[in-house]
């Protein structure tokens, strides 16, 4: 093992240097997309329902524990509700259009794509506020949803359609 390490020492250090540069570049940047801002701050003290650094790390734990309370016990507090996240964070852009989870300008997707996370939430849950969905349903009545949904699904699940 030691011999092997010495042999590939140069290659290893090169790799290490490269990965450090990549990591630095990554930490310096955040997703470079234009995401519409949330509707409002949660309160004067905090931007979101919990401090932002906690939300970044633990938002899924909050919605996970809240979902069982809601489904089974009928507890409908708004603070950790997924619908409230969507309602506040997913807003219309300057053109009045709402992002879908399949877009990189979607608040959730922008970060999930950046950190390479795949989630199932939006296969069932709404990825936009209700008014956006109702609006889309009324203007798109002629769209063939069967093909569109299959395409979206394959894209979302990273399944190769070939």
């Amino acid at each position: 093992m030691k011999g092997l390490l010495e042999k590939y020492h140069k290659l290893l250090s090169l790799l290490l240097a490269l990965s450090c540069t990549a990591a630095l570049a990554a930490s310096a940047g955040s997703p470079e997309v234009d995401i519409p801002p949330p509707k409002q701050n949660y309160s004067e003290e905090t931007l979101c329902v919990e401090p932002v650094e906690i939300m970044r790390k633990q938002h899924f734990e909050f919605v996970l524990s809240h979902r069982d309370k809601t489904v089974i016990e009928g507890i409908r507090t708004k603070k950790h509700s997924l619908n409230e996240c969507i309602d506040c964070h997913i807003t219309a852009n300057a053109q009045g259009e709402y992002s879908r989870y399949s877009d990189d300008t979607h608040f959730c997707a922008s970060c999930h794509q950046f950190v390479a996370v795949n989630i199932d939430c939006f296969q069932c849950h709404a990825d936009r506020p209700e008014e956006a969905i109702r609006k889309a349903k009324n203007s798109n009545k002629t769209v063939d949803h069967s093909e569109q949904t299959l395409k979206d699904y394959l894209e979302l699940s990273n399944i190769d359609s070939h």
């Binding site: 489904v71 016990e73 507090t77 069932c124 849950h125 969905i133 349903k137 299959l150």
Partner: protein, 259 residues
């Protein structure tokens, strides 16, 4: 009572801001009034919404009374309203499209009389779908509403076989444009939720019953079966109401008149 209210608040997310909405405040005040008139005796139960942070209880048992005498054969306002309320968009495949409520026309061959009635989940007290579910996804809420927890449903469809009312649908394909209050997805079974989102909001009615009343038929009456002063309990006491397949002893929450 104050102590009770304190407990209710404690159940809530403790750091959540107190709701200062006037309507909520008045509802709370009404609930206190109802109890302090006669301490120890429940004079009446308010129809007010429960606080959002409070779990549902068996103080309520939500049910529906359907008067088939006034249900019109050519009307499907309840079905349309349900589809619109829950975003059950038509995929153009009637054999597999989800159906939470459907209209049946039943003909008595001896008299030729046709009875028209809506059929949906009967929200049984002893639901066979819950008995057979291998994962516990099919469950009955404390207030009697039978639901599917899509987070644990594995799509085995055993409940669909067990249900005597053919009330459940399976989602065969990826969906989109689901509404926030009615999440639905491929591989899960679903059925009438008795408009659980409306019930929890305190609407005290369902989309189908509202649509029926709007069309002037008033064949559907939603209410609390455990409250003797609710309209549904009064109607049931006065005129009665039968269960479909009463022989199965499921004690359904949906009752019919005129059958």
């Amino acid at each position: 009572m104050r102590y009770k209210l304190k407990l209710d608040l404690d159940l809530d997310d403790t750091t959540e801001e107190v709701n200062t909405d006037r309507r909520e405040f008045l509802r709370g005040a009404a609930a206190i009034g109802g109890l302090t008139i006669a301490p120890g005796v429940m004079l009446y139960q308010t129809a007010a919404a429960k606080p959002a942070g409070q779990a549902v209880s068996n103080q309520q048992r939500w049910g529906m009374l359907i008067n088939t005498n006034v249900c019109q054969e050519d009307c499907d306002a309840c079905v349309t309203a349900c589809n619109e309320e829950h975003g059950l968009w038509d995929l153009g495949r009637p054999k597999t499209d989800a159906q939470w409520i459907r209209k049946l026309n039943v003909k008595d061959i001896t008299t030729g009389h046709v009875t028209s009635l809506p059929m949906m989940c009967q929200h049984c007290e002893h639901p066979p779908c819950v008995d057979v579910c291998p994962t516990g996804a099919s469950f009955k809420r404390e207030d009697g509403i039978v639901l599917v927890n899509a987070h644990t449903c594995i799509g085995c469809r055993y409940c669909m076989l067990a249900c005597p009312y053919k009330a459940r649908s399976f989602i065969h394909e990826p969906l989109e444009d689901q509404l926030p209050h009615a999440p639905r997805g491929k591989g899960c079974v679903e059925s009438c939720t008795l408009c659980v989102h409306k019930v929890d909001r305190g609407d005290n009615n369902t989309a189908c019953a509202e649509a029926c009343a709007k069309d002037g038929h008033q064949a559907l009456l939603f209410g609390n079966l455990h409250d003797p002063n609710s309209e549904i309990s009064k109607q049931l006491e006065k005129h009665g109401g039968v269960q479909i397949r009463a022989d199965l002893n499921l004690n359904t929450g949906v009752r019919y008149q005129g059958l």
